[in-house]
């Protein structure tokens, strides 16, 4: 990559983007003018209203013969912000109706108690405020009266009125209180402002360039694909970061203004030590940069698929919704940053920023979140350069590509889904599984798992029907020779052994997350073995197979050669299980099942293999002692070298035998 070329391309991109009015408005005017204006206006309107209330003089009318002590009460209130004017009028009700007075007070004495009747009009603001103030005055009169009665009776008024006294002492510092409040809002605002900031430049540099026809000009120049992508990516990232920083400054400014205002009203400045926020701001800035890399790359990926500005806008809408949804996680009190949540894009940044504002510094977590964001970003950039490299995207006239957003009448019937559609379906399903499936599991426990499985099979099914693809072909709903079932069993038994070795290794590296997984499993499954067998072994064997070996593998093998298709599908299957420690094991198992599925051209041997694998782990969970007796290796905490060798040997042997059976063709 030639740095000089990237530099001059970057300069061009920046000039091009910054001279676009839309981008500049989004970047500058919204944060720097609109936010403060809206906030300050609404604040001054509100304070204006409160001021006008409290500095009023309320006119009241006594509708009884006052011996002087009531008048005295209202004349000598201790308040400075309001006062009463006692008016005498002929017809008080009429005066009230004409708004000449704000309230009428009547006083009677019954059984030695003083009764006050207050007549007012709730529909008129001043009248109802006056009533509040009258109530306040009378309450303090009643309180004083009570005290003097109690004192007359020889009682201690404080003891009698409040025999139990409760004091609250908030030990969190002002900074922490401020932090926890900000921790809810700032991550969300930050994420959204970054997304908004990157959106327009992302569209402009990708779909915009295509629409304006300058991309072909660019291709005539001796510029490599990576130089082109890098310069675009840097430009979008720069603008994203700039707009995020401007947003933060604007928010900070407005926050400080509001804080000052509140402080002067309350006249009690607790004193906020701003220097305590410095490390948070520092780490937060790093975090913004990492997140900017991620979000720029993602939005560019989405936009690069579009042919025009309008189309890119359409594609970005679902992205915005997903990002918004994920950033709401920062609002949920029980969701904390751990090794699993750190892997969820967007949510991880929100949670980290929230933690930072609560002064929780977990170096490992900070490093993990930064790493994850940069890694996702890089993967997306690589994907982007792949997308940008394809002539179909650059010169494409709209054949193939994403069909889900097309009008259904425009979609042509076909055999297999496109890979672009498949990626969308995968991402959408993953989102639903994480959020809806997660919620269902929290609420319905083991049945929630079943709901998750319905999501897993439902989305690809709907997508396939909507895009008019051949269901039988896509999901491989075809019978096959029994030898594939037979071979498949061998492959999966070998695969389980190899998988155990792999998870033993990954378990050493990612201790915590392995523990997390096994704990949550035992919590969910309950104690009925047949039920667990149905939900954990049978349902996934059907649903996940249809999704991963059916839809995903089908779409991938429509475009790539079988090996690449298997590797991609296996990796997706691994990622779907949402745990680093399980990734390699599940990817291995997934890959083996993919192989059998490709060879047999049928979904059913894979279902059997999947069921075998899951059923075995369910059995191990329920009958630990028995399995330990039959397969002692299963129960061991750590594996000895001899165990490893034996398992490796048997594993490879079984897989090899299975492959042999699956591969062998009848000779004519």
């Amino acid at each position: 990559m030639n740095v000089k070329i990237v530099k001059s391309l970057y300069k061009k991109e920046m000039l091009d983007v910054l001279r676009d009015k839309k981008t500049v408005i989004m970047m500058l005017v919204v944060p720097l003018v609109l936010y403060p204006l809206v906030m300050i206006c609404s604040l001054s309107i509100m304070t204006g209203i409160t001021n006008s209330i409290s500095s009023n003089t309320y006119r009241i009318c006594f509708d009884f013969e006052d011996d002087g002590h009531v008048g005295e009460l209202f004349k000598n209130t201790d308040e400075v912000s309001y006062s009463f004017e006692i008016v005498s009028c002929e017809n008080p009700s009429e005066a009230l109706a004409n708004e000449e007075i704000d309230a009428i007070i009547r006083r009677t004495v019954e059984n030695g108690r003083e009764c006050f009747d207050i007549t007012y009009m709730s529909s008129i603001n001043n009248s109802s405020y006056a009533t509040d103030m009258i109530e306040k005055t009378l309450n303090s009169y009643a309180h004083n009266l009570t005290i003097s009665i109690l004192e007359d009776a020889g009682l201690n008024p404080e003891q009698t009125l409040a025999p139990v006294d409760i004091h609250y002492r908030d030990v969190s510092t002002n900074e922490e209180t401020a932090g926890s409040l900000l921790g809810m809002l700032i991550p969300f605002m930050l994420v959204m402002s970054l997304l908004m900031g990157t959106m327009y430049p992302a569209i402009d540099t990708t779909a915009g360039e295509k629409e304006r026809g300058t991309l072909e000009t660019m291709l005539t120049l001796p510029v490599s694909n990576s130089e082109l992508i890098m310069s675009k990516f840097l430009a979008v990232g720069t603008i994203g970061v700039t707009s995020a920083v401007l947003n933060l400054i604007a928010m900070g400014g407005v926050g400080a203004y509001m804080y000052n205002m509140v402080a002067t009203i309350r006249e009690s400045t607790g004193g906020l030590n701003m220097s305590r926020f410095i490390p948070a701001i520092f780490v937060g800035t790093l975090c913004i940069l990492a997140f900017a890399i991620f979000i720029s790359a993602i939005s560019m990926c989405v936009c690069a698929l579009a042919r025009s500005y309008k189309e890119a806008n359409n594609y970005l809408t679902p992205l915005t919704l997903v990002v918004m949804f994920a950033s709401f996680l920062g609002f949920i009190p029980n969701v904390t940053l751990n090794t699993s949540t750190a892997l969820i894009p967007v949510a991880n940044v929100c949670l980290l920023v929230r933690d930072l504002l609560l002064f929780k510094y977990n170096i490992q977590m900070i490093a993990l979140v930064l790493f994850v964001n940069v890694a996702y970003g890089l993967v997306s950039v690589m994907l982007l350069s792949k997308i940008y490299n394809s002539e179909a995207v650059i010169f494409g006239d709209g054949n193939g590509g994403i069909q889900i957003f097309e009008r259904r009448s425009n979609i042509k019937k076909g055999m297999l889904p496109t890979t672009q559609d498949a990626w969308l379906v995968i991402i959408f399903t993953a989102m639903l599984v994480i959020y809806a499936g997660g919620a269902a599991q929290l609420k319905y426990g083991i049945y929630g798992l079943l709901i998750t499985q319905f999501i897993v099979v439902g989305i690809p099914l709907i997508a396939t029907i909507y895009t008019k693809k051949d269901i039988k072909n896509t999901f491989k709903l075809k019978g096959c020779s029994p030898k594939y079932f037979f071979g498949g069993i061998f492959v999966i038994i070998g695969g389980i052994m190899l998988g155990m070795l792999v998870s033993a290794v990954t378990g050493l590296i990612f201790k915590e997350s392995a523990l997390d997984a096994s704990e949550s499993m035992t919590q969910i499954i309950g104690d009925s073995f047949p039920l667990a067998l149905i939900i954990i072994a049978l349902a996934p064997a059907i649903c996940e197979e249809l999704m991963f070996r059916g839809y995903v593998l089908g779409a991938m093998s429509g475009k790539y050669n079988p090996r690449t298709a298997i590797i991609i599908s296996a990796a997706i299957f691994g990622i779907y299980h949402m745990s680093i420690s399980k990734f390699f094991t599940t990817a291995l198992i997934g890959g083996l099942i993919c192989y059998v599925a490709v060879k047999s051209k049928s979904i059913f041997p894979g279902m059997l293999m999947h069921f075998t694998n899951n059923a075995l782990s369910v059995a191990t969970m329920f009958y630990q002692e028995e399995t330990a007796r039959i397969f002692p290796v299963f129960a061991k905490e750590t594996l000895a070298v001899s165990d490893i060798l034996i398992m490796l040997g048997f594993g490879i042997f079984f897989v090899a035998v299975g492959f042999f059976v699956v591969k062998s063709t009848k000779k004519n």
Partner: protein
């Protein structure tokens, strides 16, 4: 010298019932453009002219076959190096509207590895030749059609390429603008540059081209100098020659 050997480019075409069929937009065409000559490519719409020129310019990769350049005895196969010696212009190569012509030329010069003083000199030179002094610092989106076309040509000139590839450069232009472009190509030929360009205007090709290649359905249906083509077919005007060759080809397909 720019050489394309046995170039094939196949695309997928959607047909009824969603079946995809492959077809060759360019079907085994070999072409050579030397310094100091103008090669014209003539063909009906959809004959594969644009695809052929895009492959020659390195914008598209051939499905099979090879594009290379000879710089004297030195063979160049690296796509990026070749792009540095080619100036490509088509109706689809639009300019960045928000930049001025000077900024655009400056950027392109830098990408071609020229230094600042070289670029400034070259811009002054080109601006004089194409008479762009009056608008070189205006944003391109504010220019008139003729001015934009001149700016587009200046983009191909900045790095002093050896070969020009023009895809229908005179399409949709008025007489003045198109004759300016024709004169430009003649001048560059005299300067020892090679030009390959496609056109629908037969008279223009008759006047300008040293060699003419006629293509139909992705294949060469006739090629040679104007005189050679006249001798082969017995017709005198290019229009008649093309008509005869095209109908011959049709017959071939129908048999």
């Amino acid at each position: 010298m720019l050489v394309g050997e046995n170039l094939i480019k196949s695309f997928e075409r959607n047909e009824k019932r969603g079946k995809k069929t492959e077809f060759n937009a360019v079907d085994d065409i070999s072409i050579e453009v030397s310094q100091g000559e103008i090669v014209g490519i003539i063909g009906a719409n959809g004959a594969g002219k644009t695809t052929l020129l895009r492959m020659l310019a390195g914008l598209m990769k051939p499905t099979s076959g090879q594009v290379m350049m000879w710089d004297g005895d030195e063979k160049i196969e690296n796509e990026l190096v070749m792009k540095g010696k080619i100036g490509y212009l088509s109706g689809n190569t639009k300019l960045y509207g928000r930049l001025s012509t000077r900024e655009l030329l400056d950027m392109i010069g830098k990408i071609h590895g020229m230094n600042t003083s070289e670029i400034d000199e070259r811009i002054a030179e080109i601006s004089k030749v194409l008479n762009m002094d009056g608008f070189i610092d205006n944003r391109i989106e504010k220019l008139s059609t003729g001015q934009t076309q001149r700016a587009s040509i200046s983009r191909c000139l900045i790095h002093s390429p050896q070969i020009y590839i023009f895809d229908e450069p005179t399409l949709g232009l008025d007489i003045l603008s198109s004759s300016a472009i024709i004169e430009f190509m003649r001048k560059e030929k005299e300067n020892g540059k090679g030009v390959v360009y496609s056109t629908h205007y037969m008279e223009e090709a008759e006047y300008l081209c040293d060699r003419i290649i006629m293509i139909g359905k992705g294949r060469i249906i006739g090629s040679g100098t104007l005189d050679e083509l006249r001798n082969d077919t017995g017709f005198s005007s290019l229009r008649e020659i093309f008509g005869a060759l095209a109908s011959q080809e049709e017959d071939l397909y129908e048999c």
